[in-house]
Amino acid sequence: MNTLPDDVRPWRHDLAGCLHGCLATLLEQRGIPALPVLGAAWTFRHLPGGVRREEYYYPYGPGESLFGALAPHHPVGSRWHRPADAATGLREVMDAVADGTPVAVAVDNYHLPFRPAYRDVHSNHLVVVHGFDEQRGTVRVLDAVPPAFHGDITIEELTAARDSGNEVVHDRDMFFTGVDIGNRWISLELGAPPEEFPSLNRAEAARVIGLNLAHFDGRGGGDGLSGLDGQQAFLESAVKRVAAGEDVRDELFVAAGAVLACTAVHADWLALAGRTLDVPGLVEQGRAVERIAHHWSALRITAALTGDGQLGAGRLARRVHALMKDHESVLVALDRERAEL
């Protein structure tokens, strides 16, 4: 079986990671422009105890899906497949790809020759698989995270990465290590045909911004901490825990990475909407949301430095205060822009 489709393209955002990159590639392969869907939602959610040690961590509750959590305003979902063993996992992915459906697979970078972590650091990563050449014994892999790779590796290499126990071996096996990869793979599930996805017009922009404002206003529902109050509660709790000497490094770093990516990609969505609809105010609010993302960049590194006492609760608290203050301001401005659409 030789299956090598040519409509699979890399997508990368400098403040997002493999999760956004993979979903964007899978959406565009189905003919759905990624940013209008992937960047629409701006949310905060945290499920206590639910932070997973994955580069592709994103919070979602029971009955929801990983891809669906990234794009809750669109008919997008996903399904994790958990095969019993490596051979079954390989066969499942080969079958999906043979049917013309690229998928994303969980991998341990330690086993991937194109990753800098190869034979150095274990890390739980996500890549797109979209081709097999059984005669050559190779699989075509797309990884948009630098160093970007779009090419062939051996089936044995991919299988080793998928079947890895992702062990913690040394002190640089941080954040995304220690969780069995288990040959998992994830498929994109669309709840509507691509042509029925909404166009990015003024009504759609108003709808999306309204949903985001409702979420931050606490009217979005869902489990755990959510919205602006949930974000404040989560961050203030982290400050208190650091002050009490508790180690929050990994949880806060991973959770912040997910919010950073969501916020930064939404900033680009606002800029796209503003340019597409000729509404300069939306572009300006895109920049304001980008500023919130830059707070999260700082907070994420701040979190990482709390682990060994390099950085104390006071500095974390000041960042949290500044972030929340700016976040509240941009919500007010977005409400104003929405009213004029």
Binding site: D14, P116, P147, A148, H294, S297, A298, I301, L311, R315
Partner: protein, 199 residues
């Protein structure tokens, strides 16, 4: 006929950041684990960067930091108050890089006691990443150091960024932001141009 001219040298006052430097971001090939620019211990390869001392970047003189064997080579921003040679300046030029792009205000302290915030914006040092704030790369390297190996597939960047000084008063000090994602390798003050007629 269009003429290609070498970039003119800009008069500049390099600021010695040695006493503020607290992070090692540059390592030689034989001592890969001697520094840790970011959380994973990545560093910039010393042999692709200038030796310590004055260097020119885009026509601007900078004081390149000490580097390998000489101690810390950059300032990880933690709200340090950097004293600068007093004078009237138009720009604060920096060589900087960030762990993911970010921005924050710096506070400009003037000799007359006034203080102005201005933005310091720095793009990601990570390879294969473009500048997001319109900075120009001061150095784009060919490889990236890891504590236990060198990756030759890609290389990081150090950016040249600038911060305006709009107040026409002598500058005395610069308060860096409290943002540990931002690393400043060098800083140079560009004297004010006498553009306006003084009444």
């Amino acid at each position: 006929m269009e003429q290609l001219l070498a970039p003119a040298r800009v008069a500049g006052v390099p600021v010695d950041l040695a006493r503020y430097a607290d992070n090692i971001g540059i390592t030689p090939p034989g001592r890969l684990d001697a520094g840790a620019f970011n959380l994973w211990g990545n560093t910039f390869p010393a042999d692709e960067l200038p030796p310590p001392g004055e260097v020119m970047v885009h026509g601007i003189p900078f004081l390149f930091p000490a580097g390998p064997g000489g101690g810390p080579d950059n300032v990880r921003c933690a709200g340090q108050l950097v004293e600068v040679p007093g004078g009237r300046y138009d720009w604060i030029q920096v060589l900087a890089a960030a762990e993911r792009r970010t921005e924050d205000p710096v506070l400009l302290h003037f000799a007359d006691g006034t203080v102005d915030p201005e933005w310091l914006r720095v793009s990601d040092f990570w390879p294969e990443t473009e500048a997001r704030f319109g900075e120009r790369p001061a150095y784009r390297l060919s490889r990236l150091h890891y504590p236990r190996h060198v990756d030759r597939k890609f290389g990081p960047a150090i950016w040249r960024q600038r911060v305006p000084v709009t107040r026409e008063t002598d500058l005395a000090a610069v308060r860096l932001p409290d943002n540990p994602a931002v690393h400043v390798f060098a800083m140079t003050l560009v004297p004010a141009a006498p553009q306006e007629v003084q009444e």
